[in-house]
Symmetry: C2
Subunit: 673 residues, 2 copies
């Protein structure tokens, strides 16, 4: 059998496993009465949003496909682009559909069967998303590679797959992020403004939108984010291997093809490791949830590191490459652990303490925490780059960066599963609250949710680190590709064109953050006005005898998300094209460098400040510093509200921004000659 | 007469003019009774702080001097280092001493003579600082250049001057910034926490410390900041000219010496232009203050642009270099105007409107404003880099960046004068309030203060742009210097060592921001406890019959500033040395690139967000959205409090951080071979 057949076959197998898990989930009871009704509203809201989002996205993709067909004068790049976009969209749909089935079943399991079963159902929900991401990536990329990726004349066309994936990711993540946080911030603030309406109250018309947001933002958005990093790192590593000189690749493997195929092979093994990781979590589910989830991730990573050694040696690839894989895999876990400290350790208690002197000191402490939290993860990334260059022969360093990124991302099935578990558990709690299922059920779902918050923070740290390395690999591939087409091309830091580009690139993340922050602020404002209107105009709503019109709130969030995702999307896709063709590849190269640094730093700052503020609020709500309702609580709620768009809208958009800019540059690189 | 004698002679002449202005200031009446008493407290507090700050600084400088002497095995670099440090410290002392004389005389003039005279006195106060900066720079650098700067064997030693200036600037700016904001935040928050104690009330023990802070932070700190950019840009341009190949410099001038001397000559002409600008402001002082100040800046810049043309042509230098000077000079004004928009225009009203839904939306709007505000200034910087490279012959681009920076900074006398005018006017208002001088006086000083806030924001934008360009020129000089010592040295963006460095460099600004934000937060916390204690333990304080112990508060701010400035200072000075010698010049070069981008972006974000929050508060206090005491006002006060360390502590530290890192690298460049 041709070894090239393995990745798509593994992808298909992954989908089968995901489908089996899906069947298990739907075999659990879905509840009835109010529980089922609320779940149906959330499911419907999420699906309606996705359909409308994908319609706009479809139009955008169509335009880009036509432009690609004209630009390249061939069918391969546009086809790869469409396949990449479809694979990403499919993974997102599968994951979100499953999540909106799993949430209510988790609630019911928590009520009827207890914590262990509820954990299983929620985790199964996340697992389908995780496996769908890994499987669709392997299936799509593997099939394209089998088709024309190995042919040196057409290898570059495969970059289109990454561009398709990144474009979908950008719109999903930005749109989903704006949706979820405008609903969340709006619903939260109403409680503060309209006296007597508690947060997360079923009478609050914004609560359904908030729960829909968890699914479209934290499940589908996050999934597409990880999907594009995953595919991006594989594509970049293939491209780097394809552009190495014979002198270079001969130091690493007997055949160039082995180096090109290695990232796909590693990702295939990673899928198996992820499935093993899922089994580990299942076996450990009688223990504390945090413990079970962590065992799954670390177990899968350890198995991968071991298996990678034999895989690479079997392919005749130098052991130095294995070291790179290991640096990446271990680095990813390390970044996650640092994130856990900053969003759950001492800094969180210091932020809560800042509440004693009001919201201003909560803000100062949180911003300082976010900025400080970049240090170790960035040093880890820098360390990985330096170490891979150190273990590989001269001139092969960037291949090592690519393999490190693939190493970090190949267990995406389990890391994404744990990540997507969070919003499922969160939703389960929301349903329990809205349906009034009582203290005991709520306690179980709260416990699951709390673990989910930590895993979500870890997942975000991991996603940023992985996206940074993936982008770096793509940028390296871009430089190598341009070099192949433009002899003598070099990006030197003392070249004014490169410096110009670095400054331009550096400002994009700030601009996109500003646009998305403002979008959330504006949409939340509209949401508040609508909620206020409903309380005024719907008789009996406050007393609980009438139902809120939650569809209107879902609609406001949808409108805001769809309208405000366009500008950042167009900016990200168009800027490399304009800069590349108008100012030249040197400016473009500098721009990618500047954007990379700026994106990684801002993403870490915003994700961790947001996570820390969120947990500082939870810490006070547990009864510290006066507990719920105290002045300190009011102060930390302000921090949490600012942290919402930080951690779930603007921050996550950074990962994708840099990857979109890098992959678009890589795609157009052959045309820049 | 030797033309090389001109810069130090112009420097001496500038000092004479500054002294004449100082004599004019002290000829105004200094007030009596309570007014004189308060002024004496402020003067004493400022001088005590400076003495203690300079003692610690002196120790640090001594250690560095010894290390430089050992490292270089010669006396020139350490001597230049000491001279640079002394010149900076002297300029700071002159400026601050004068400012603490001018503040009370402005108050008295506002009371007895009216707005025009008060404006004159306050502006004279700022002018002495501005002229001191320009004159000490020309005197010190000019003398060293005359002594050994022109000698190609010893030219590199002059870099030590920049390092001395930058080291003093770092400690002054960070120390002063922590001092001023811990006092300001502490004094402000007490009003919110202890019911019944209004802001800026004379009974508040923290108010004197707050006024001292304006002088040590915004006068002395800002002066040393601008001083190091000013000298850094001149030194870098000299170094670039010194390292150009014959093929390169022959395209620009008949003699290399002409190119090396050009930045000093331009700065000398700039000093004259600044004095003319000061005269313009004086002549226009009957008009609106904002108008008078703006005419001075723009007038001085236009005269400089005209004069530069004849100066450069007289020296036989290509007209292309003049274009670079013009790009820099015009770019500086443009950045200032953009800053004015973001800290005074529509964004400010949007932030205030955000207060309708509480402090969280004020925070979100302000952060978005800060992040958006980077776009135009960074595009201007990128445009200057690109344009200078476009007008100059191939390979000469970085000389153009240097001359653009010098062009932007050579009218430092007037820009710094307008900048330092702000805190003098602010202090004048504080004294009027504390001494209870009545509504009319207060109205005049409020008017002056308001203009001062805008000019301070513009000055900050200008300082960041100038510092960015200066740092860029220094980095270019570093690369050129290493190239001269290490044949084949190049900083390529696809070199893993350069990438490692870029990530490491990028994190420093975030780390230093975090440290300084936390320092302010912690010190403000101590300040609040002390103020609370005094209200509790001093009988009659609340009733106004007893005096607060303001010395204790000055002492707390001093302690915090001195303790917390050490770590950022050591980090900035030591990191290039450690990275350069341990990881090599490629990593160091990448580090400077990453730090530059990251510093400029963070500095602009923090300065403009802070300025916008400050003015949003002022906008509400004028009666908009409910005015003072409303819920909206409470919300914008939170924004202003967070903005304080943003704009006056962490943000300004960024300018210096990158310049210190760059100049230290330039100094050690010859040793990295």
């Amino acid at each position: 059998m041709d070894i090239l057949l393995l990745p798509p076959l593994f992808g298909l197998a992954g989908l089968v496993v995901a489908f089996i898990i899906y069947r298990i989930i739907v075999s659990y009871p879905a509840g009835e009465g109010q529980v089922a009704e609320i779940a149906a509203l959330i499911h419907k809201g999420a699906m309606v949003f996705m359909r409308r989002e994908y319609s706009i996205l479809g139009l955008f993709l169509l335009v880009v496909t036509v432009l690609l067909a004209i630009g390249f004068g061939g069918w391969r790049t546009p086809v790869a682009f469409v396949v990449g976009a479809l694979c990403s969209a499919t993974a997102g749909l599968i994951g979100m559909h499953t999540a909106t089935k799993a949430n209510v079943r988790t609630t019911v399991a928590a009520k009827n069967e207890g914590a262990a079963t509820a954990l299983n159902v929620a985790f199964y929900g996340g697992s389908v998303m995780g496996l769908a991401v890994a499987a669709m990536g392997l299936l799509g990329l593997g099939a394209l590679y089998l088709w024309f990726g190995g042919d040196p004349h057409h290898a570059e066309a495969i970059h289109g797959f990454g561009m398709g994936a990144s474009t979908v990711a950008l719109f999903s993540r930005v749109g989903g992020g704006i949706f979820t946080k405008s609903a969340d911030v709006g619903a939260d603030l109403v409680g503060k403004i309209e006296a007597g309406i508690p947060e997360d109250d079923p009478r609050n018309p914004g609560v359904i939108a908030d729960n829909v947001g968890d699914n479209v933002g934290d499940v589908a958005g996050m999934g597409s984010d990880i999907f594009e990093s995953y595919c991006g790192s594989i594509i970049a590593t293939i491209a780097i291997a394809a552009t190495m000189t014979m002198l270079q690749w001969q130091q690493l493997a007997p055949e160039r093809e082995a180096l090109m195929f290695a990232p796909l092979a590693l990702a295939s093994v990673g899928l198996i490791c992820s499935i093993l990781g899922i089994i580990i979590v299942r076996l450990m589910s009688a223990n504390a949830p945090a413990m079970a989830l962590r065992s799954g991730t670390i177990g899968a990573t350890l198995i991968l590191i071991g298996a990678a050694y034999f895989l690479l040696r079997w392919q005749g690839i130098s052991a130095a490459v294995w070291w790179c894989v290991m640096f990446g895999a271990v680095g990813g876990i390390f970044i996650g652990l640092v994130t856990e400290y900053y969003t759950g350790g001492k800094p969180v208690r210091l932020i809560a303490k800042g509440g004693e002197t009001g919201p201003a000191t909560v803000m100062i402490a949180g911003l300082a925490t976010g900025m400080e939290s970049v240090v170790v993860p960035v040093l880890v990334i820098a360390g990985i780059i330096f170490a891979t260059a150190a273990v590989l022969p001269e001139g092969c360093g960037v291949y090592g960066v690519g393999m490190a990124a693939v190493g970090m991302l190949s267990t995406v099935g389990i890391t994404m599963a744990i990540d997507a578990y969070g919003p499922v558990a969160d939703n389960a709690g929301g349903i329990a609250e809205m349906a009034g299922l009582g203290e005991d059920t709520r306690k179980i779902t709260d416990g699951l949710d709390e673990v989910g918050n930590t895993t979500a923070a870890i997942g975000k740290g991991f996603a940023i680190g992985a996206a940074g390395l993936a982008a770096l690999a793509i940028i390296a591939a871009f430089i190598a590709t341009v070099e192949r087409h433009v002899p003598g091309f070099a990006l030197r830091l003392d070249d004014p064109r490169v410096l110009t580009g670095m400054f331009i690139g550096g400002l994009f993340p700030f601009l996109v953050s500003a646009i998305t922050m403002r979008a959330v602020g504006d949409a939340a404002f509209d949401m508040i006005k609508e909620i206020r209107r409903q309380f005024k105009e719907i008789p009996g709503l406050m007393e609980g005898t009438a139902k809120p019109d939650s569809d209107r709130c879902v609609d406001i969030a949808t409108q805001a998300a769809l309208r405000k995702m366009i500008l950042p999307g167009v900016l990200a896709v168009a800027s490399p094209v304009v800069v590349g063709f108008v100012l030249g590849p040197q400016v473009l190269g500098g721009m990618l460098g500047g954007a990379l640094i700026s994106c990684v730093l801002l993403a870490l700052t915003m994700a961790n400040a947001g996570g820390a503020w969120d947990n500082a609020k939870k810490y006070v709500e547990k009864g510290n510093f006066g507990g719920k309702g105290s002045d300190v609580h009011k102060a930390v709620v302000v921090g949490d509200t600012v942290g919402d768009p930080f951690k779930d809208t603007s921050g996550p958009a950074m990962n994708i921004l840099i990857n979109v800019m890098a992959i678009v540059s890589l795609v157009i690189a052959p045309l820049l000659a």
